[in-house]
Symmetry: C2
Subunit: 573 residues, 2 copies
């Protein structure tokens, strides 16, 4: 492609609303144009990148026996009513009525469509297992679209759905798909992507992993062990606590006027905060009931874990008095029977605690839960902390980091097949419900994440496997007939050799040409200049600056072919 | 791919709502599944076909310097308000509100998005001409989805938009794209597709062509000359009439009680129908005014041509009295001045006509329009007929036929660039508005149309260029170890040689296997059977029955490779 013919425009200045590198460079470099909140059109340079990512995805999905299908973007609501998600998902799901007044939705994911397609087709155990996938547009009405292609409302996604007759078979396939995902990320130039256990959220099911590209600009919090291979999303990371030791103490009521925070109380009573009980009060969405969560004074509540435990959305509670609670002085002993109580496992670590007395201006010290409250059911609803204990190796080696989620996989079980009545005839003639896994990667987000991971101060450094072109020819002084003749010929020869070339043939200054080349991020660059040609050379370099050399001009073609081949081989190794 | 592993199910019986071959076979053969009115999911076999069609489209678009981009499916309504189509298109355009209450639309075509992407980017004459295209999902809320993939509400479309600085340049590029379309259809195995001049409808612009696959099940009426290369859509076909000759006559009023049709009147008055004037009354959508169209008694009104002339939607008129019309006796002389009058050019052919007298139970004979009505402006709003005069060669050689529209191209002019304020700086420094062309092909409709054109009583006969697989191995008695061993080996060798193979390895009867093979329509078939192997042969045949032979089993691989290559070469010739 000749640069002069490409539909593109670059900008010198960073747009005001761009915070992260990929967003900045992809706007400045003319990769995309904002059409509306979280909605972009992609310029040719980006479509070339996403097409290559899609090809890699197809190859890896086909390699694990995936069959490509196509589901609709706009679906009748009835299949979403069957699964229950028409009602359970809030306004992230776009709903509209068609001209006939029928309820419709825009697909934000396609479990329902996958079950709908397969349920009458795969009616015998002999047809299992199978996996179907598509690469298509999805729409999620995100409240906070941000970061360019990192979090958008409309996006292209590779989504895959596998169907199985046993848990073992699902687990085995899940593992195969996990490996396929690792290959996809490696081939796209980000082998550093890690997988972490995660919460399955609105998808249903139990086991789930997110694939994370670790970067400070990521919007997910991750918990990673510095000593072993444990890694988890903060949302689900299991917590482990050391026993604090010590003997039982006498239960005593203390007057603690106006001291409503547990830190204040502990300071006043000269108690360690980790020997205190903090009360955090929520309201449940499902039944509007009030839930009091007791955690150790130094521990925070992990609301995702709490939601999963309660199987309900939760909100900070209002009107505590209505439920018989004394705000600021809530404690386990004698708590109102109008509320549901949750005890975090961090409260298993001490024989005595300071806590609210359920009376205005009073706290208790020396509370022993078993002795003073009775048989208590402990659950894990705490938040992991930096330096916390790794649930896998047991060392104080947890580290918190951030990541961009570039893919996810779920063991869905029968969440959809059961609600949508999918059955097959088993070997023994009985009707059974198959189970499912699902597997997603957003194409545009992956492209932007690669840019996030691979860039310098001047622009993206695209891995050659997904680069829009493999080689960029910069013809300095294209008005020089010798330069033009050589560059034209090199362009033609490279293209004939199957090398993808962006040929900058514009009559612009070296400065403009090089800064534009930095923004296009093409991995191999060859500079053809009057001065070089006079010395019989061209300059070949890599965009990542790891290589630069002057090559005899007659050897340029072969050098470039060899360099491209070598770089492609490295990524596919 | 092994047949046993493919997600598919076939049906023996024709579903009740299927009327046309492609719909019948694509449902019976497990190509797609209906998700809702005019909305389908595509099974793997169909996705393989559409992917190949898309690849051919990409190659041909790239060949005419197209640059692939991606526009959004869901768009903020504001760009559609800019072009005016948010208001001018009725409920075919899906409108919805996002969570922020903003007006949104689902793209049914992407002129607005194309202008939005290009308008700030292509701001200098040096960047012109250029063409951008995408292959993506569109949604049109059709009132009458029908015929399987022929007329759906959601579909994948290749849509292209070219931008130019002069009419000549647009016309030149339009011609290039016309040729690219011919190549696309030829490569997809339907070189018989013809292009006809058409109405540009809601797209705006003047010159437009539709690409039509002629078939009796098509929903478009076409006018084709049997003697020259004239062809047009009935909607726009120009009409030409012979002069009927004869002298002026005296104007006379006749009593014609209760005779309201022009045929009755002519029979009663012993006049030729083509010497009479028929009145057809419409109401305009734009201003609710009444329009009386006068055509020759033997001519029908072409409502599309009338709409274009009036620049308004029209409906059959109600309440004629309100406009001073005498139903059944309407004529040109002395007609109410509350109505708009249109004279068809068919009325230029005689010096005298019989017509309504605008009085209850009265007609006139001998009416001469110039003498008795005055200076009349004639326009062409008649419908072409079988045996009518060809406007190109002048012979009575017109023939009416039907076709499926498989593509269309439009010279849009400045319809969108002007309303959306797109400008570029011309060579002389002045700001100018570029002009556009647009070019569309529906992927699924093309697949179904190919099936419509190429099938027999048992299923589709896919051209090898777009066939889901190139070769189908039918292993008769796959439980026979010799058959299995040979078929397994042949499958592996063909795949290694790059031939796409569907290997039917199922333990089913020959009858089931062959009827399933007919439904998959794969162009080359090889039957491996115990009997054949005993004689040292396999049977190779073409799906279209033009070839069948017993080949020595050791020569099977080479024969199949040669056959596939030859068939591919024929289509790409």
């Amino acid at each position: 492609m000749k640069f002069s013919a490409m539909l593109t425009k670059r900008f010198k200045d960073t747009p005001a609303d761009c915070q992260i590198a990929s967003h900045i460079f992809m706007i400045r470099g003319g990769y995309m144009k904002n059409v509306g909140n979280g909605i972009y059109s992609l310029f040719p340079i980006t479509k070339r990148i996403t097409s290559k990512i899609e090809r890699i995805m197809r190859e890896e999905m086909d390699r694990i026996d995936g069959q490509e299908v196509l589901f609709p973007v706009a679906m009748p609501a009835n299949i979403w009513k069957e699964s229950g998600r028409y009602d359970s998902i809030a306004n992230e799901l776009v709903r509209f009525k068609d001209r006939g007044g029928n309820d419709m939705v825009l697909g934000m994911t396609h479990e329902e469509a996958a079950v709908h397609l397969a349920r009458e087709t795969a009616d015998s155990y002999q047809q299992y297992p199978f996996m179907i996938y598509q690469i298509q547009t999805k729409f999620r009405d995100e409240p906070r679209a941000r970061g360019g292609l990192i979090r958008v409302r409309e996006f292209t996604m590779k989504d895959a759905y596998s169907f199985h007759t046993s848990k073992e078979d699902l687990e085995q396939y899940y593992e195969r798909c996990h490996k396929a995902y690792e290959r996809i990320f490696a081939r796209c130039g980000v082998p550093e992507v890690i997988s972490v256990k995660s919460d399955s959220g609105m998808m249903g099911g139990k086991v789930a992993h997110e694939f994370m590209l670790c970067t400070p600009v990521g919007e997910d919090s991750l918990v990673v062990c510095k000593d072993c291979d444990f890694r988890a999303n903060m949302e689900t990371a299991e917590c482990v606590y050391d026993d604090l030791g010590g003997e039982e103490k006498t239960l005593t009521k203390e007057y603690t006027p106006e001291m409503k925070s547990i830190e204040d109380v502990c300071a006043y009573l000269k108690q360690d905060v980790n020997r205190s009980i903090k009360a955090v009060v929520y309201q449940k969405e499902t039944d509007d009931k009030c839930v009091v969560v007791f955690v150790r004074g130094d521990v925070e509540v992990n609301e995702t874990k709490l939601r999963n435990h309660l199987k309900s959305e939760v909100y900070p509670a209002q009107e505590l008095e209505r439920f018989g609670l004394v705000a600021g002085f809530i404690g386990p002993k004698g708590i109102s029977d109008k509320v549901e109580v949750v005890y975090d496992i961090s409260l298993k670590t001490s024989q005595f605690y300071t806590c609210g007395a359920n009376e205005e201006n009073c706290h208790l010290t020396g509370l022993n839960l078993a002795r003073d409250v009775g048989d208590v059911n402990f659950v894990d609803v705490g938040k992991a902390v930096e330096g916390g204990i790794c649930p896998s190796c047991g060392k104080h080696s947890l580290s918190l980091t951030r990541g961009i989620e570039v893919g996810n996989i779920f063991q869905l079980g029968d969440r959809y097949t059961s609600s949508m009545g999918m059955k097959y005839i088993d070997r023994d003639g009985t009707l059974k419900t198959p189970i499912m896994g699902c597997y997603g990667i957003g194409v545009g987000r992956l492209a932007a994440s690669v840019c996030e991971a691979h860039h310098d101060d001047y622009g993206p450094i695209w891995p050659i496997s997904i680069a829009p072109w493999q080689v960029q020819i910069c013809a300095l002084r294209s008005d020089d007939s010798e330069v033009k003749a050589f560059a034209d010929k090199l362009y033609e020869e490279l293209e004939n050799a199957g090398v993808e070339v962006l040929y900058d043939d514009r009559p612009v200054s070296a400065g403009v040409m090089f800064s534009d080349a930095d923004l296009s991020g093409i991995p191999v660059r060859v500079v053809v200049s009057p001065k070089g040609l006079k010395n019989g050379t061209v300059e070949i370099s890599k965009r990542d600056k790891s290589y630069m050399d002057k090559i005899a001009k007659d050897a340029a073609l072969e050098s470039l072919k060899a360099l491209v081949k070598q770089m492609l081989d490295e990524l596919n190794a």
